[in-house]
Symmetry: C2
Subunit: 475 residues, 2 copies
């Protein structure tokens, strides 16, 4: 019989679980410090809750659950075979929960949720069919205070885990639509244009041009858009004019910017927003620019890691405002380690009321993958399963060995008991294999004198210790 | 749109999650103290891994996952529609893992696993389709040290959680088969007889007799069996003869039995084992009696909670040796809160080698249910989401309020920021609704003087505090 986990799924042996719990522990701690509260939703949702929320591609990747027993109706083909599905992300269940428990939840509901999701994706290196998301969302406010606090919390988590080379990429759905409008991309083509544009990091300008053509985006409009974006990208590292400097100083509190390079980054972001304002012109989409400016104003220290990225689109269809992606800038790891944005219309799909919302999601598997590659786990995690192993002298003394183990446990030690009366040499060998630092022997002499022989497995030294002193000695 | 969780599934709001995490935290801590290590397996298993492991009834309750895309073949009926399924328990995945990673795992593998399982059961009060199991298993040894340590660990968890009225019911599959043999129940009817016998607590002797008849168990054999069990049950509270007393003192170390009633319990268990030995006679199944005697010898203090229960059968088909059930004895909660046993043949179904194994599973949902009913959660769990809320004075001071929040967080406080510039009265009202004990106000005067107004929401007092002293003041 095949004993491997199912395709795209993983078993986590003890050393894996310890690493996962270490990272999850830090994530929870920081989220709580920012006033977020824990939420958990079921792994299984009604199929109708999930369908139509993730775009066409997402829909295909939902794991559906076969109906049970007599309910199964094969006459309709695939329809009628399933009414339940596995959770695909943590945002749609949150929206359902907010609509369902509106009266029990506070007006501003700040929640975190750390649970697995399932996608029937083709498995690849670092891509699995079951993986954890660590989501943090704030419900109920349209203020950019929300975006600023979310970014701040996730940055603090990454710093606490030891990451130094991350960048927060920031854009806004309204800016994107404003640019598409201004460039002349027809309304009905804009969603498709965004799907193509989202790939510019990977397939470069040429690739996007081909995709535009394949999708019948008017040539002139597509070129205008790509020219603008290229123009902005080329401005990176620009000399800061006096006008620009004055404008930055007027709008932002710069007292916390320590280095000149930090000022330059802020000035460049400010410049990009001004240019975008010029391109888009005086239309309603301009509020997106004001919002991103607010985010820069509110994030202070974190904004030196922030970069306005006008080509950033992100795949999910439910975003309505700011979109955020956090990427690592060093090493060969490409792709984001966290991302999210504002989705002010999603909750309204479940309830009568439109409730504004914004969230970020940390990809736990990617974080773990990079931390492993870079050797970022603290050495304390390579812990053994116990502080001490108690041996069994003979069949008659088993109960005494178990009693000693419980005495040591009650004094706070993690204690393993060798489960069988076996040759002492074999018991020592086993203790060595599993790296237990101390072994206790309770032979007939020791038992008679109320003492214990304690062997230090690292130094090899063995000592006779009064029974009541064993725990202290080992600690 | 329906916003309820799917049938038999539950959402856990923050106060629920806190309670669940409190209980899980204690379970993990104790398991680790006994030298058990964490394991996690995927929620989704290959269907063939699960089928045929849980008996006919269990098979029906497995949630199957629909095949994706072009693979779907309707021509074969239900067959061919599914190759994956949701995890049904944590024992079968463990057996698969042990067979798969044999060379990476220690010879004696002690693992705990706390994860949800799914069963397509009819939902009822306290019965859900997604629920957590907290399993602890020891692999690789046939010694009753394993049973004793498992019982000891689970007892310690229950005590730590505050339970006082639990009883450990103990039986052995070999004793059951020995009794059936000796009573004359034919081999091919024994499994059915056990299924009926398992219900004796609920349907009483009359009910079991009816089931025996319905299943064509020979009348005489069935009666003989039930007479024996009745005879044993009636002996509860028997006077302890001198012979019995001597026999107990010879076999068990009784120095740790403080009360006379504890001695009586042990003596009664000893008596039951002697009677069972007499009924079964001199056949191979008698080793089960020796093993239960060992468990009583090894569990010491815990054995005063132990009761040999010759009618205990437990449903799952994979048990081969000791079977264990932990029940609450007070209140109207019926049913076990933990259970398990020895399954020495299960791992061999996955690998070439038979590896002995034994485990216990704590039912998290039942524990939580009873703790809620009995008011057993510590009051600290009714915590609020933050230690302090920072208000927003006006649009211009948002960045300063966020800065103050981060200062307080860096000093270890959990800090909420009211997300919008709003009337101060509304902000206070909100702080009151969500029970935050302190509120910080950073008005223009305070900002100019580098001070903060701190309001104690319980006493209503407000105080102007130097900015650097705010965290200390609140703590």
């Amino acid at each position: 019989m095949n004993t491997n986990p199912a395709r795209g799924m993983r078993d986590f042996l003890p050393s894996d679980v310890r690493k996962r719990e270490y990272v999850i522990g830090i994530i929870k701690e920081v989220y709580q410090k920012y006033g977020f509260e824990p939420l958990e939703t079921p792994s299984v949702e009604n199929l109708e809750t999930l369908t139509g929320k993730y775009g066409e591609e997402g829909n295909q990747l939902i794991f559906k659950i076969l109906k049970r027993g007599e309910k199964l109706d094969l006459s309709e083909g695939e329809k009628g075979l399933s009414d339940l599905a596995l959770r695909y992300d943590l945002t749609v269940p949150l929206a359902r929960v907010v609509a369902n428990y509106k009266n029990e939840l506070p007006k501003f509901f700040k929640r975190y949720q750390i649970q697995p999701v399932w996608r029937a994706d083709r498995p690849a290196r670092g891509r699995f069919r079951e993986f954890y998301q660590c989501d943090v969302d704030a419900i109920g406010s349209s203020s950019m205070v929300v975006e600023a606090e979310l970014i701040s919390a996730v940055c603090e988590i990454l710093e606490r885990l030891g990451f130094e080379d991350f960048e927060i990429r920031l854009n806004h759905r309204e800016i994107l639509y404003g640019l598409l409008d201004a460039a002349g991309v027809p309304l009905e083509k804009q969603t498709e244009a965004l799907v193509a544009l989202d790939k510019i990091d990977k397939i470069m300008r040429e690739g996007v041009e081909e995709e535009f053509q394949a999708r019948n985006i008017p040539n002139e409009a597509g070129n205008k858009l790509l020219n603008w974006l290229e123009e902005l990208a080329n401005k990176e590292g620009l000399e800061i004019s006096n006008d620009l400097r004055n404008s930055v100083e007027q709008i932002y509190d710069i007292t916390q910017l320590s280095a000149d390079s930090d000022f330059k980054k802020l000035a460049f972001n400010h410049y990009i927003l001004i240019q975008l304002e010029n391109y888009i012109g005086n239309n309603s989409n301009i509020s997106g620019i004001k919002e991103l400016r607010n985010v820069l104003q509110f994030t202070r220290k974190k904004r030196i890691r922030t970069k306005i990225e006008p080509s950033l689109a992100r795949g999910l269809s439910y975003y309505t405002g700011a979109i955020i992606e956090i990427v690592l800038t060093k090493g060969d790891f490409s792709g984001s380690i966290a991302g999210g944005g504002r989705y002010d219309s999603l909750i309204g799909m479940f309830g009568k009321e439109q409730i504004p919302a914004c969230g970020l999601s940390i990809g736990l598997e990617r974080i773990l993958f990079v931390m492993e590659e870079r050797g970022m786990f603290p050495t304390e995690l390579q812990t053994n399963s116990a502080d001490v192993m108690v041996t069994i002298w003979n069949e008659e003394s088993i109960a005494e060995s178990l009693k000693l183990a419980n005495e040591l446990r009650s004094q706070g030690l993690r204690v393993l008991v060798y489960p069988e009366a076996d040759k002492l040499g074999k018991q020592f060998k086993y203790a060595g294999q599993i790296n237990v630092p101390f072994v206790c022997i309770l032979g007939e002499n020791e038992l008679a004198e109320n003492k214990v022989a304690v062997k230090n497995m690292i130094s090899g030294e063995q000592e006779i210790v009064a029974r009541e002193d064993v725990a202290r000695k080992i600690k």
